[in-house]
């Protein structure tokens, strides 16, 4: 009996080793996720991107991911573990991994890193992000059109420029439809916490908001809006199944094409450190179908989407007036330049809220 157990054990070990060697000559690509892959939002979309990558290049690469990695002292170790496991190209998919990624990148100059939504780069560390504010602008138009109370509810994650520019784009658009539109903002101080997100949605609805928008990652707010008979926008991902009568549209992160492009470059040996910031025209994200709205609202949204894609409409077109009533300097000619949007730390006029830390 004991002998057969030992034999079994040896067999299991051998089986494991064989599969390990056959994978050795493939390019190893690693991913670090901030949430669980089942968050149905941000991390879920990154994992869909990874799956698209596997589908396209599965015979040449092997992917590995670590999920739920906190943006603290553990991140550096998790990234380094992926390096040590032989991954040559590593995607770190949240802003909070910026410093950890940079530290590991400096330590391993022969490994390539791709950091999502950050601003620090290195010869072996690229950044990539999307111009989601374009999608927010379209949502702002729809929200103002659909809101009966004239009050929008906005669940913020962290008051970083990406989120602030989203709020501003929303309001600039909404004001073109209803100059007196109001927005209530709650900072959840998290990317993913369905309980907190749901509480925020409830509080916003109690304060009179009838259209809920969010910059957090779970469908919790959509579910609450649906229960209360209000309208809402999905985030990152298609969330219509959580609110079939609720979702107006959703900004869909479509990372697959970018991941495939970067891995192909790595395979071809042409990978370089780059700063990618793509919009609707370069398909870094897409809009979910416009639903639960009358035809004129739908047409307005589609027209705006076409105009933005064609470059005819820019959400941050000047003149833009800041919260303090003073016009914002226009560094991009007739619009704000990319640096101003990427570093945005002010509210536009009409937002009745104080930017945290200001």
């Amino acid at each position: 009996m004991r002998k057969s157990l030992l034999a079994l054990a040896a067999g299991l070990f051998l089986a494991g080793n064989v599969s390990a060697t056959s994978a050795a000559d493939k390019l190893k690509v690693g991913f670090i996720y901030v949430g669980p892959i089942g968050d149905l939002g941000w991390t879920y979309q990154h994992d869909l991107g990874r799956q698209a990558l596997v589908k396209e290049l599965g015979d040449k690469i092997e992917t590995t991911y670590l999920e739920n990695v906190p943006e603290g002292p553990d991140a550096e170790r998790s990234i380094e573990q992926l390096v040590r496991a032989g991954n040559k190209l590593i995607f770190t998919t949240s802003f909070g991994y910026m410093d950890s990624t940079l530290k590991v990148a400096k330590k391993y100059p022969n490994v390539h890193f791709e950091h999502a939504t950050g601003y620090k780069r290195n010869p072996n560390m690229s950044t990539y992000s999307a111009k989601w504010y374009q999608g927010r602008y379209i949502q702002g138009l729809i929200a103002a059109k659909m809101s009966k109370s004239g009050v929008l509810g906005y669940i913020g994650s962290f008051p970083i420029p990406e989120v602030v520019s989203g709020i501003n784009a929303t309001m600039l658009a909404a004001q073109t439809i209803n100059p007196n539109i109001k927005v209530k903002i709650i900072w959840a101080n998290t990317w993913f916490d369905p309980g907190k997100e749901a509480d925020a949605a409830k509080a916003l609805i109690d304060q009179g908001a009838d259209v809920i928008m969010q910059h957090t990652d779970s469908p919790a707010a959509m579910q609450i809006a649906s229960e209360r008979g209000k309208l809402a926008f999905g985030q990152d991902s298609e969330m219509i199944k959580f609110g079939p009568k609720t979702q107006l549209t959703s900004i869909l992160d479509t990372w697959g094409p970018y991941y495939i492009e970067r891995v192909k470059a790595e395979l071809a040996g042409t990978w370089k450190s780059e700063d990618t910031w793509g919009g609707l025209d370069s398909h870094m994200f897409a809009m979910a179908p416009y639903t639960n709205m009358p035809d004129d609202a739908k047409k307005m949204a589609e027209d705006a989407q076409a105009a933005i894609t064609a470059g005819k409409l820019h959400p941050f077109k000047c003149p833009i007036v800041g919260q303090d009533g003073k016009p914002v300097e226009c560094k991009g000619g007739d619009r704000l330049d990319d640096g101003q949007i990427l570093g945005m730390n002010f509210y536009v006029k009409g937002i009745d809220d104080k930017l945290p830390g200001k």
């Binding site: 603290g72 170790r77 496991a85 410093d99 962290f158 970083i160 420029p161």
Partner: protein, 363 residues
């Protein structure tokens, strides 16, 4: 036939020693079954969890880095628990220590402050942790307030205070509004021990703390007092030991150690103050304290073991695509078995047979 739990006349010393081993054994058996259900090779999984991290210098360093705060906090907590004082708020004391120490780092940033900065940060952090822990201790002694509740609730206060600071006054002006201070200057960071690794001076401090606790509990009157007050409060009163004083003392010491662990984590592996500096160290340390049977050396081993499960869990996730949740299940199962096996120290299983002779006699 019936299986009953019978109270032992006295604690079983043998079981007290083997019970953690039985618990680990049962955990491993359960995990093997779980891995098999998940369709993963159980032997490879166990290898990834327990053996692989021990085979290279890098993972060993990472285990030490992860275990450092756990061991320091758990040593302090064990003193409290031995004296029957229930400090559940080490997480808060950890955060307050981190905040207090960071204050010096933030204020001296960019100045040519010298080598005094780091020692001052450590001292201030320990003092702040101790003071913060004294709040529940004094409420307990003066007003009879439950220290379990008060210490726990102060965790949230500390958490929000830290949050306020890094979002407001201490926020890095070049950090794009992200809630974090700027990176600490080199004089405000805990020195690394090995070039290229992350092992830092804090691990040495943790070892010194363990040694001090061994001496305190084994060789001094104070240590004896702590153990007597906890084990036999009546005897302690007759012996003239002051239980209230000991609550104050053990809370202060455990708060100081948690605070010290906090600043070492911030000025070490993290490098700046931000929310989320603790993935629940103050609470995990409670598990470590009990897993180590409130014994300093036991705690050292338990801390390293728990750190091993974190690092091993990560390697299993990479090597075998085992979900992170399995690591959490694993830690939960381990604690469950430890507590379950501990009941065997005071109780034993006994088979009880209905008295057949009587039945027969009647027939």
């Amino acid at each position: 036939m019936q299986l009953v739990l019978e109270k032992r006349a006295e604690r079983s010393g043998t079981i007290a020693l083997v019970s953690p081993l039985i618990a680990i054994g049962l955990t491993i058996v359960t995990m093997v079954i779980l891995f098999a259900i998940l369709g993963k090779n159980p032997l490879l999984a166990l290898h990834a969890y327990f053996i692989a991290p021990l085979t290279d210098g890098y993972s060993l360093q990472e285990i030490a880095v992860k275990a450092t705060p756990l061991v320091m906090i758990a040593i302090g907590l064990s003193l409290c628990y031995l004296a029957n004082a229930w400090n559940i708020g080490a997480e808060g004391q950890f955060l307050i220590g981190a905040v207090a120490g960071s204050w010096i780092a933030v204020k001296t940033q960019g100045t040519d402050a010298g080598a005094w900065v780091l020692p001052a940060m450590l001292i201030l952090a320990a003092s702040a942790g101790a003071l913060y822990a004294l709040i529940p201790a004094i409420c307990k002694v003066k007003f009879g307030a439950s220290e379990i509740l008060t210490s726990l609730m102060l965790v949230y206060v500390a958490d929000l205070f830290l949050d306020y600071l890094v979002r407001g006054p201490w926020r890095d002006p070049h950090g794009f509004n992200f809630p974090t201070t700027a990176e600490f200057d080199p004089v405000a960071t805990v020195p690394l021990l090995i070039e290229g690794g992350r092992l830092h001076l804090g691990s040495i401090i943790a070892l010194l703390v363990v040694a001090a606790a061994v001496i305190l509990l084994g060789r001094t009157i104070k240590g004896f007092e702590i153990r007597v007050v906890g084990a036999a409060p009546r005897a302690a009163r007759f012996g003239g030991f002051n239980a209230d004083q000991l609550i104050i003392l053990t809370f202060a010491v455990s708060g100081a150690l948690a605070g010290l662990a906090g600043i070492i984590e911030v000025a070490g592996p993290v490098g700046h103050l931000q929310p989320g500096i603790s993935p629940g160290y103050g609470f995990t340390a409670i598990i470590v304290a009990f897993l180590g049977r409130l014994n300093p050396l036991g705690i050292l081993i338990a801390g390293l073991f728990l750190a091993l499960t974190f690092i091993g869990g990560e390697q299993a996730q990479i090597a075998m695509k085992i979900p992170l949740d399995v690591t959490k299940v694993f830690q939960g199962i381990l604690l469950f078995y430890v507590l379950a096996c501990d009941s065997l120290i005071l109780y034993r299983f006994k088979l009880v047979f209905p008295n057949r002779q009587v039945t027969r006699g009647a027939g």
